[in-house]
């Protein structure tokens, strides 16, 4: 592998040119990635503020600070913004854009102009979504008909906004698929690709195949409101449950769009900080593809109580359990990578280990929902809310934080304050568990979700959860403040502070616009840590 000089970022690399035009019209995948990161992180904050408002209201069983209607709008905005404006684009379009070309030894993605277009389509999408707030929705992020077709809110506008966001997602996925197929450096065979690439490749396939279906779904919803078409309206012979089938056909695979990139990051970080090759490279690589494929077959498990036949329910339940197997394989492999390693606990590694821990909780609460009889009990209760927050926040968001800490030096040429990073990590870890574990209990006790008001017997869990949310918020705030401080006055970062082997670390920090002076010729895989003829397992 080509070795670059380890001097700290001397020039400003790709950041050298300044002025808004150098950003707005850029075709540099790194700048586009940075723009996506700023935008998605901004929505993470806005969505998070809505979450804190919800938790504030949920301190008391009855409506206290705002009306039920306002609460319902807040949970809809929290969910919709977090899902469509943060968690789906953040890792793929943010970190993915920055690092995919670098990981494969290319100068840019296959279609740089389409890449820029995808960002502006994303901007157009969120502007339309914001425009719909003149008459905000209270349908929940799932927009079930008939309620979403009848409610007096700007549903058609929002539908167009989400359609545009979906188009942005498709363009990104398409770009990555072609990039990974066609622009790998000489010697970069499929089995020498970093596992982040395998994760992103599988993610891109899902984006390309699933997103059009949700596009049509929202188009049909908009048409139902604007033209009165009959697909989901029972009075005209339509079927409201058909909406659910269309919606979940996308929305189940999309959770794998959310998790696979984060898993890719974990597969990068764990070997570096244990100084060991990843255990079971092929298993992790192919399990990403398996998850992508199986994820398309299980959407009905969101609909077990919607009146589907017992046979359909049984098939979906059976298939649902099989997605667990490739996922479990990854967890075992990451843990096995630690065996006989030489492990250090810098902030990227802390978040990576946290991912495994919290995702395990989320994943192991999945069987309760995959099994038919317990799902009938727990569906639409806080148990589900806890399950998806453990997987999406304890999973994806922790993976995102790991990636941000890991690649911060490379992207910015600065280092963050490691001590503050660790303190904020501790607050995040404690706050998260206090906030969300209690929701499992509330759910088992029977507390339904999307309840602005609740029976007094659920109050204890809600108060504890709100306290946890406050701690979590402080931790996240401190973490991002640390990033800001690092940006402004962090010490210069060397080219390879973590002594990692993948290609992006063989460049200065920050990298030059063209990534590599010469396209590297790859001769080994990026996990060749440790001693080749060392002691066997």
């Amino acid at each position: 592998m080509a070795q670059a000089a380890e001097e700290p970022g001397s020039g400003r690399g790709y950041l050298a040119e300044s002025g808004w035009r150098s950003w707005a019209y850029t075709m540099d995948h790194k700048r586009i990635g940075v723009m996506y990161l700023y935008t998605t992180i901004a929505f993470f904050f806005i969505g998070g503020i809505f979450a804190l408002l919800l938790r504030l209201e949920l301190l008391s069983p009855q409506a206290k600070y705002f009306s039920d209607h306002t609460y319902n709008i807040f949970f809809t905005l929290h969910g919709s913004m977090m899902i469509f404006l943060f968690i789906i684009p953040a890792i793929p379009s943010g970190l993915g854009n920055f690092f995919i070309p670098m990981h494969i030894g290319a100068r840019d993605v296959a279609f740089p102009r389409i890449n820029l277009a995808s960002y502006w389509v994303f901007v157009a999408g969120f502007l339309v979504v914001i425009a719909s707030l003149v008459s905000p929705m209270d349908t929940g992020w799932t927009f079930y008909t008939p309620y979403s077709a009848k409610t007096g809110a700007a549903v058609a506008t929002l539908s167009f906004g989400i359609f545009l966001l979906g188009m942005s997602s498709i363009l990104t996925g398409l770009n990555f698929i072609v990039t990974i197929h066609k622009l790998r450096a000489p010697g970069m065979t499929w089995h020498r690709l970093p596992l982040f690439i395998w994760g992103m490749y599988s993610t891109s396939i899902i984006q390309v195949v699933a997103t059009p279906v949700v596009g049509v779904t929202f188009l049909l919803l908009a048409m139902e409101r604007l033209l009165g078409v009959a697909f989901f309206d029972p009075a005209k012979g339509g079927d409201p449950v058909l909406f659910q089938h269309f919606f979940w056909f996308y929305s189940h695979p999309v959770v794998y769009v959310m998790i696979l990139p984060a898993m890719g990051i974990i597969s990068e970080v764990i070997p570096v900080f244990s100084r060991k090759p990843i255990f079971g490279y092929k298993a992790i690589a192919y399990s990403s593809l398996a998850i992508a494929f199986l994820g398309f077959l299980v959407w009905g498990h969101h609909m077990f109580t919607s009146g589907m036949s017992p046979l359909a329910n049984a098939i979906f339940s059976f298939l649902t359990f099989f997605v667990a197997v490739p996922t479990a394989v990854k967890v075992f492999n990451w843990i096995a990578t630690l065996y006989k390693g030489s492990i250090t606990f810098e902030s990227p590694m802390l978040y990576a280990l946290t991912f495994i821990f919290l995702f395990a909780v989320g994943g192991l609460t999945g069987p309760f929902l995959g099994a038919l009889a317990t799902d009938v009990q727990l569906h639409d209760t806080y148990f589900v809310v806890a399950h998806f927050h453990y997987t999406m926040m304890g999973g994806t968001v922790m993976g995102f934080f790991a990636g941000l800490h890991y690649w911060f030096p490379k992207m910015t040429g600065k280092m963050v304050n490691e001590k503050i990073a660790r303190i904020s990590w501790a607050l995040v870890f404690v706050g998260f568990n206090v906030a969300f574990f209690t929701m499992f209990i509330a759910g088992v006790k029977g507390m339904p979700r999307r309840y602005a008001e609740y029976l007094p017997k659920f109050q204890v869990e809600n108060v504890i959860s709100t306290v946890g949310a406050a701690i979590l918020a402080v931790g996240i705030g401190m973490m991002f403040w640390n990033f800001l401080q690092g940006l402004r006055k962090g010490p210069p970062a060397p080219g390879n502070p973590w002594r990692a082997l993948s290609l992006e670390w063989q460049t200065p920090s920050p990298p030059d616009t063209e990534n590599f002076h010469e396209i590297p010729v790859v001769t080994d895989w990026p996990y060749a840590y440790g001693t080749p003829k060392g002691p066997a397992a």
């Binding site: 409506a63 030489s342 009938v376 639409d380 001693t531 002691p535």
Partner: protein, 315 residues
């Protein structure tokens, strides 16, 4: 009835669901402590001791036998969980003969109950203990949910369709019913009760043809009205002072002059209020939608009078 964690099951079927829940918890707990225990153990045991010997870690890249087993064993475990979950579920879905049938129709934001003998109720279902009950569910406007946490069952209520749910309550008690599909502003207030009565009490009640609410002969009318108004869902739509809701405010309503749709106006006297309860579309207050359901068959004349008396006290 309160339930702590997974217990307080109100039927044998619910107890079977609890047993499945416990089984999944034990299996999940086992795998959690096994994997995360190893994670923590390895993190501690293999932490870096000597910085300059970082390169001496063994280049272990896999172990086919280990990987084979940790694919095989989880696969077997998940199939077992699937099977158990499926069996308990199938028992839940197969209705037992001799069930009492109750029709439940949801609309924003209450449950309308209709018994086969024609009796109706709002937000309260009465059944005898020891016999299966089959709920025949539908909805008028949007999708609602019908969740009995103590029985560990729920089913969506879908406009244009009929879905069914059955339970076999073991013992008398009052059990909570929640709406679990988001249906609008009143979603979290669509509370109803399943009242399971001993067979004798149920027989007596059936014979008396009581309608909604409990039989309390000697309570003051306004107090009865307050209770009926709460149980029949009136307060989900009508505020008493406070934040605006779907229906007109009851505070200060009695005796006031009410502008109507169409330009006329009316005095909110006993007759107007009575008419508004049994024939709500007759004279709509200006600026409010014509969405109130009629209580003509669900509230007795005494209950209607009681609610009017209650409204009179809200100055």
């Amino acid at each position: 009835m309160d339930n702590v964690l997974a217990f307080g099951a109100a039927s044998a079927q619910a107890a079977r669901v609890d047993a499945l829940f416990v089984m999944i918890t034990v299996i999940g707990g086992f795998f959690f402590f096994l994997t995360q225990g190893m994670l923590i153990y390895f993190a501690v045991r293999y932490r870096r001791r000597l910085p300059d010997r970082d390169n001496e870690t063994p280049r272990i890249t896999g172990n086919h036998l280990l990987e084979f087993f940790w694919v095989l064993i989880p696969s077997i475990v998940v199939v077992a969980i699937f099977y158990y979950g499926w069996r308990v579920y199938t028992d839940q879905r197969i209705p037992v003969g001799g069930a009492t049938e109750v029709y439940v129709n949801a609309r924003q934001w209450l449950y309308e109950i209709k018994y086969p003998d024609g009796r109706t109720a709002i937000n309260e279902i009465r059944v005898p203990a020891g016999r299966p009950v089959k709920f025949i569910l539908s909805a008028s406007d949007v999708i609602h949910g019908f969740y009995l946490p103590d029985f560990r069952v729920k089913m969506d209520m879908i406009p244009g369709r009929v879905t069914t749910l059955w339970v076999e309550p073991d013992r008398p008690g009052r059990y909570q019913i929640f709406c679990t599909v988001y249906c609008g502003t009143g979603h979290s207030n669509m509370l109803a009760q399943l009242v399971v009565m001993s067979p004798d009490a149920y027989a007596e009640w059936s014979a008396r043809h009581e309608e909604a609410g409990e039989e309390k002969e000697h309570e003051p009318l306004a107090v009865r009205g307050a209770r009926v108004a709460k149980n029949a869902g009136c307060l989900n739509c009508h505020p008493i002072g406070g934040a605006a809701k779907v229906g007109p405010d009851w505070k200060g309503l009695f005796g006031s002059n009410v502008p109507l749709e169409g330009g006329a106006s009316a005095t909110a006297d006993e007759e107007y209020l009575r008419e508004s309860i049994v024939d709500p579309g007759a004279r709509i207050v200006k600026g409010f939608p014509n969405v109130m359901p009629t209580y003509k068959t669900t509230l007795s004349k005494e209950d209607v009078d009681a609610v009017v008396e209650y409204i009179k006290t809200l100055k």
